[in-house]
């Protein structure tokens, strides 16, 4: 839920303030997520980023797919549905899935 300030900013059309409010929300540790994904994909550190497309990764196969469901559950406490996961295109999309709740 947006804060009252954020609602007010939106109403008043102050996008600058709205953006800063949004940034203040707690963010997932991006580096940690990338490191977890590198471990899952058994790939070198620094070889992927949020922009990396899943279809460009040979390691993104059916086993990695299930490993991601397991990681989301055990490391982030989020039960990702295979349907949602199938729609993900990039590493950034995957991060959004575990950020969801």
């Amino acid at each position: 839920m947006e804060s009252t300030t954020a609602n007010l900013c939106a109403e008043l059309g102050w996008p600058f303030l709205l953006a800063s409010q949004t940034e203040r929300r707690p963010k997932m540790n991006e580096q940690e997520f990338i490191a977890n994904m590198e471990e899952l994909l058994e790939t070198d550190s620094g070889s992927i980023s949020l922009a990396t497309q899943l279809e460009s990764l040979s390691q993104w196969d059916s086993l990695a797919f299930v490993s991601f469901l397991a990681m989301a559950d055990s490391k982030y406490g989020v039960r990702v549905t295979p349907t949602d996961l199938r729609q993900s295109k990039s590493i950034g999309d995957l991060m959004k899935l575990v950020e969801k709740r």
Partner: protein, 363 residues
């Protein structure tokens, strides 16, 4: 389902039987390549499987297990009042029920009730629940639950999602009235919306997707697996997602009802789905891995026989000599699941029997 508590019934013995033919998963290297096999095997934990050959059915494995168990228990065949055969791989496509042929083959009395239950991974727990309820509720004294599958034959050899997963096995569990036994606690459940995630879509003339000239043709899917509509299909991700959603609360519910703390359970005997899944369940439920016996390394995923096979191969010494608190948990095809908290043993548990093709029913 609400919790069911069944008093006054015990497991008298458990036996299992597997085909003598033992095949390493590396035998499929020609199809998938050695690297892929290693990757799959690391994930599933499966290194060998005992595989049937044409003409040897689930019922043959269960028959051998049952015969051995009746001998060891010194039960007169005529004393068995009901036989429940749990399988997804019966002897005949539609009729008759395999349980009827097993009544004859085992020399059970003609006053014995016999019927089939069509369930796989959850089937053994369902069989136990039915057998125990028949004794507690209908006043029977002795019931046999035969649970087994030859699931290895159902998959296409070129579908890496399933072809190295399933092993073949049969089991027999002898259940009898015992007023001194502590109540067994059961909970079952079903989510039929998962029906299409573990399925053989076609293969029969009169069924949902009637067999025709094309249903047996194997085609290559987007994951480069080859399979026809008459082969087993498994969506591993959907099965995994369902399992991690349903099994932990199921375990908690049954333990609560039994009044057992997690660390008071001597062994969690899970359906042997695959090692990755069981390790994940252990981690999220905080169950130490040494309390989860595994038979899948040697036998693969043996469908309805996996729980009794795991007991007789991994817990045989303990359960033959002492009483154990076991949590039995079956889950999978359907989707269907069931769990049972049971205090059992010492009970009769002969070593797993190897079955030769010559022992198949020569009907």
């Amino acid at each position: 389902m609400a919790i069911a508590k069944v008093p006054g019934v015990r497991i008298a013995g458990i036996a299992s039987a597997v085909p003598a033919t033992r095949v390493p998963v590396t035998a499929a290297a020609e199809i998938f390549g050695a690297d892929m096999i290693q990757k799959i095997s690391q994930n599933t934990g499966i290194e060998y499987r005992h595989l049937t050959s044409p003409g040897m059915c689930s019922s043959d494995l269960c028959f051998v297990a049952a015969k051995r168990l009746l001998e060891e228990l010194r039960w007169e065949p005529a004393s068995v009042e009901a036989l429940i055969f749990v399988t997804q791989t019966p002897d005949f496509p539609h009729i008759p029920a395999t349980a009827c042929t097993l009544q004859m083959r085992l020399g059970l009395s003609s006053s014995c009730a016999a019927f089939d239950v069509t369930l796989g991974c959850s089937g053994h727990v369902y069989g136990l629940w039915l057998a125990m309820s028949l004794i507690a509720g209908s006043g029977l004294s002795r019931v046999l639950v035969l649970a087994g599958d030859v699931a290895s034959v159902l998959s296409s050899p070129a579908d890496r999602a399933v072809s190295l997963l399933f092993g073949d096995a049969g089991s027999a569990t002898a259940i009898e009235k015992d007023v001194t036994a502590s109540p067994c606690v059961f909970s079952m459940g079903t989510d039929g919306s998962g029906w299409k995630n573990l399925i053989i879509p076609s293969g029969m003339q009169y069924a949902r997707y009637p067999r025709d000239a094309t249903t047996c043709i194997r085609r290559t899917d987007e994951d480069n697996n080859q399979r026809s509509a008459e082969d087993l299909f498994m969506d591993g991700a959907e099965v995994f997602a369902f399992t991690i959603r349903e099994v932990p609360p199921l375990v908690k519910k049954v333990l609560n009802a039994a009044g057992w703390a997690l660390d008071e359970v001597d062994a969690f005997v899970f359906h042997q789905a695959n090692k990755f899944m069981l390790t994940h369940l252990a981690k999220t439920m905080k169950v130490p891995l040494n309390k989860i016996p595994l038979s899948l390394q040697e036998y693969g995923n043996t469908s309805s026989a996996s729980i009794p096979l795991t007991i007789t191969t991994q817990l045989r010494e303990e359960i033959s000599s002492q009483s154990l608190r076991l949590l039995l948990v079956g889950f999978g095809v359907g989707f269907s699941w069931g769990a049972c908290a049971i205090q059992c043993g010492p009970l009769v548990a002969p070593p797993v029997v190897l079955v030769d093709k010559s022992e198949a029913w020569p009907c």
